[in-house]
């Protein structure tokens, strides 16, 4: 039976309460009659033979590219770059897609007699992955073969000896990327395209870049003009990356792009109710929900966090394509859209969303308030093509505990950003004046390079990610959040959904339309 497409439910009197994520907890909310609830399409069928599909993609590349085997020769310098811990979400069960793909690439390299091979985690300004995380992503065989010899590296955007400046785009943007990658005879990039934003020229131009390069597209102005960044053709973020990617190619860097898509099978069996529609819940689903909720209500936050962070998603690969970057990405994007698009007619006055425990930047970590903002206003708000789900001047209501809590190892500069920058201004355009001092702070650089810390400038990027939403919305309300933390973000705290709706009426009037984005699983609203 083919998976059902996305669905829009109109709430009536008989509609059961709607499940909202609330960090590591859930709530059931009775939405007003007439509200719309957007459900994601059901998971697509996975590839029956992923290894065969990978081999086929490598040997039948898209665009102007010979097969991978034809590009591998003895004595060449080969670099394989791969996406970092931020993908996929939640982390997937073993074997991870990166492992499956890289094993096939390495087999071909070995057959061709290539012995100068380096693996680079393309983490840009994200935190370095731990050994356990790398093992999980790459598998023991690859990790044990490469890591002890120093051939498994993590991109260091602050290592001037391993960066090369390839030039300026016609818009004056610096293109500075990893030297080993740039000077290799072939750079193979292995992507996991969880959402439409991922991949394409963004892989190399962002994942292997330096701050000097990234600042050209990671800023408030670019993000405000990315409407949305899930739609490459209306995204200035992508335009900039595409200019850079073409310059990288023109500079002679040979990239063999491999992109993969996943189905939306996000949660394991014990949490399967999370991706079912409430009126279709079985007795077992209801019992599981009640049991999980009751248990979580009695579980200390830290333990609840550990429980959820240990979830490994049953995601499976639905497509793999390889070859020339743009040709590959066009096909990948079509495949992502096939899984995730939901047609939605018209915008709404109020958009509600329950924010889960995880976003790209807190895997095995704490969802701090800045990340809460980024997940809601950066990611979920931008899960649209065409027009935003919520009208200009409308209200976004998010449900999340938003604790005033930070992981000092992963997010040290976030703490200072929250305390010293957001206390002064929450205007994305205005925070830029603080950016350089964070970006060049020697302590943050030290922690980024030697520990597991996000780069000093990263919290700024999280706030820039919110720029489009902040400019578009009339108000942002957080239900059940730490009131001080919510206020520091510039948002309004509400103790319940009813309170939030009452507060929203001050902005959008007494009889507003309401739409709930029932995600995760991830979807993309195609709003007309």
């Amino acid at each position: 039976m083919s998976p059902r497409p996305g669905f829009i439910l109109e709430v009536d009197r008989s509609t059961p309460p709607t499940l909202f994520w609330h960090g590591e907890r859930f709530s059931m909310e009775k939405l007003p009659v007439g509200s719309r609830v957007i459900y994601a399409p059901e998971p697509e069928a996975a590839l029956e033979d992923p290894i065969g599909a990978i081999r086929h993609a490598l040997e039948h590349p898209l665009g102007d590219s010979p097969p991978l085997s034809a590009r591998l020769t003895a004595g060449m310098k080969l670099t394989i770059a791969f996406d970092d811990i931020s993908l996929p979400l939640p982390p997937m069960r073993r074997p991870d897609i990166r492992q499956l793909v890289i094993e096939q690439v390495l087999d071909l390299a070995a057959e061709a007699g290539v012995d100068d091979v380096v693996l680079i985690c393309a983490l840009a300004l994200h935190r370095r992955m731990t050994a356990a995380e790398l093992r999980h992503a790459l598998g023991d065989r690859i990790y044990d073969a490469f890591e002890p010899q120093g051939l498994l590296q993590q991109h260091d955007a602050e290592d001037p000896t391993n960066l090369v400046h390839l030039g300026l785009t016609d818009q004056g943007e610096d293109v500075e990327i990893n030297k080993r990658a740039a000077e290799s005879d072939l750079l193979v990039y292995v992507n996991i395209n969880l959402v439409a934003m991922d991949g394409g020229h963004k892989s190399v131009a962002t994942g292997l870049a330096s701050y000097k390069s990234l600042r050209h597209h990671h800023n408030a102005k670019v993000m405000t003009h990315s409407t949305s960044f899930m739609d490459q053709h209306k995204s200035e973020l992508h335009s900039s990356n595409w200019r850079m990617g073409r310059l990288i190619a023109a500079a002679g860097v040979k990239v063999f792009q491999i992109e993969t898509t996943l189905n939306s099978d996000t949660f394991p069996e014990q949490f399967r109710f999370l991706q079912r529609r409430e009126w279709e819940w079985s007795a077992k689903d209801r019992a599981t929900y009640l049991g999980a909720s009751a248990a979580l209500d009695r579980t200390p936050s830290k333990l609840a966090r550990n429980i959820f962070q240990s979830i490994k998603a049953p995601h499976r690969m639905t497509s793999v394509q390889a070859g020339e970057v743009e040709a590959v990405h066009a096909q990948t994007t079509a495949n992502v859209y096939r899984q995730q698009l939901v047609a939605v007619e018209g915008q709404t006055d109020i958009l509600t969303m329950g924010l889960p425990y995880i976003c790209p930047y807190n895997v095995n970590s704490i969802m701090n308030p800045i990340l809460v903002a980024c997940l809601g206003l950066g990611y979920f708000f931008n899960l649209y093509r065409g027009k935003p789900l919520v009208r200009e001047g409308g209200v976004l209501i998010m449900s999340h505990p938003t604790p005033w809590e930070f992981n000092p190892v992963h997010h040290p500069s976030y703490i200072d950003f929250f305390e010293q920058v957001l206390s002064q201004t929450t205007d994305p355009a205005e925070i830029g004046k603080y950016e350089e001092s964070f970006a060049t702070d020697p302590w943050y650089i030290h922690l980024y390079r030697t520990g597991n810390a996000y780069h000093g400038v990263h919290p700024f990027y999280m706030w820039y990610w919110c720029a489009h939403a902040l400019e578009h919305l009339g108000a942002v309300i957080v239900v059940g959040g730490d009131r001080a933390a919510v206020r520091r973000l510039g948002f309004k705290p509400a103790s319940s959904m009813a309170d939030a709706l009452e507060m929203a009426s001050d902005v959008v009037g007494r009889d507003p339309s309401l739409t709930h984005l029932h995600t995760p699983p991830v979807m993309l609203a195609d709003v007309t």
């Binding site: 190892v409 040290p412 305390e419 010293q420 030290h446």
Partner: protein
């Protein structure tokens, strides 16, 4: 006439210490050695002395420490019982001059000639004869049994050199802030702040706020950071000249960022040691206006090697690890009281500078509450919880007709 008298009464002293320890500063007054009683005006000790009738008299941190029974035993030999507390005083002389009292009882008031080396240099705060001369021991008016103090309608006596006429434009509230501001002026100048240096001030009570104002007026720091616990303190600290004001626990991170320092032991979650958080660089000068073990520990953790920590808040017996002071060759200096200062090559009395700082910043606005002597228990409790209760300076109002209701 009614006045408050502090007597040497060890059981009451212990009871006050116990109760204030349990319930908070200022809460032990009811069982402590301070009592409201009828007092006679003190005798004039000599020809150059004057009777002064207090108008306003502040409650200082050192007063609170004394009333709470937690002041250091160091002071036992340099106070004399029973004494009338109160050394932050604006009052009126018998010839109707409005004056601020400079309370340190140095060589000249004590009739000691020649004066000690410190007094000879104008450093009266460092007088070496405070337990000697024709007066009973007492480092200041307000701690000496012969002079009286500000917390009494019977008044006090002060020597010529201790009187500072109040300019017309200053209110009584401004004037009562001159003495604590003089302490702050001395501290700001004792800190030896070079132009462009990074300075961190710990604490934003009366001393912290006046120190910020004094540093901003009399020195040229590159960046002045302040740690303030309460919202109203943060607002005032910013108004008085701090570039950035943060809650105290956030101050070390702000200093680290400003100094572009690294930090020891903070890169891994596991294995944090007591030394974790020590900055490798840090502020050039840290001014500690709190004066407890935690503030001193924090000051040492965020001052740069060979930097200076200036203790303005009165410490008692504290336990602090001085290894970093030794290893980083940090200078730890006290800053007590006043005398004369050298500013721009000129020698000036600290109080004269304090008058300027008070006038320029209208520091009378820091007076948050005025109480009659009869409500001394409430007044002391208010002062002991000033920060939490949104106050800065609590004073006794001894004016015949109080301006405005007591709060």
């Amino acid at each position: 006439m009614r006045g408050l008298l502090f007597e040497r009464n060890l059981p009451r002293f212990a009871a006050s210490r116990l109760l204030s320890g349990l319930s908070g500063s200022g809460k032990g007054t009811a069982v402590g050695p301070l009592r409201l009683t009828d007092l006679d005006p003190p005798e004039l000790p000599g020809p150059d002395w004057h009777r002064v009738r207090p108008l306003l008299a502040g409650i200082c941190g050192s007063d609170l420490a004394t009333l709470d029974g937690r002041s250091s035993r160091y002071f036992e030999e340099i106070v004399s019982f029973p004494f009338v507390p109160g050394h932050e005083i604006v009052g009126v002389t018998e010839d109707d001059r409005r004056v601020v009292i400079e309370p340190v009882i140095s060589c000249i008031p004590r009739g000691i000639t020649p004066p000690c080396p410190a007094c000879a240099e104008g450093r009266t705060g460092g007088c070496e004869r405070i337990g000697f001369g024709h007066l009973a021991p007492g480092l200041q008016i307000g701690f000496c049994c012969d002079t009286g103090g500000g917390w009494s309608a019977a008044g006090l006596v002060a020597h010529d050199v201790q009187l500072h006429p109040v300019p017309e434009g200053l209110t009584d509230e401004d004037a009562v802030m001159v003495e604590p501001t003089a302490c702050a002026v001395h501290a700001a100048l004792a800190a030896g702040i070079e132009p462009g240096e990074t300075v961190a001030v710990l604490g934003a009570g009366t001393l912290g706020l006046t120190t910020i104002a004094a540093i901003r007026r009399l020195t040229s720091p590159g960046t002045l950071l302040a740690g303030a616990k309460h919202p109203h303190q943060r607002t005032l600290a910013a108004e008085l000249g701090a570039d950035e004001v943060l809650p105290p626990d956030q101050l070390p991170r702000a200093v680290r960022r400003q100094a572009r320092s690294l930090s020891l032991g903070a890169s891994t979650r596991a294995g944090r040691t007591p030394g974790a958080g020590q900055l490798t660089g840090g502020a050039d000068v840290v001014v500690d206006c709190v004066g407890n073990a935690e503030s001193l520990r924090q000051a040492l953790a965020m001052v740069r090697p060979r930097g200076r920590v200036v203790l303005v808040g009165m410490p008692g017996k504290v336990s602090v690890d001085l290894a970093s002071l030794w290893h980083r060759e940090v200078t730890l200096a006290g800053a007590y009281a006043y005398g004369t200062e050298t500013v721009g090559g000129r020698t000036r009395r600290t109080f004269d500078l304090a008058f300027e700082v008070v006038a320029a910043n209208q520091l009378g606005r820091l007076v948050s509450a005025r109480y009659p002597l009869e409500r001394f228990e409430e007044a002391v409790a208010h002062a002991g919880a000033a920060g939490r209760r949104g106050a800065v300076k609590v004073v006794f109002d001894l004016r015949p007709t109080r301006k405005g209701p007591a709060r």
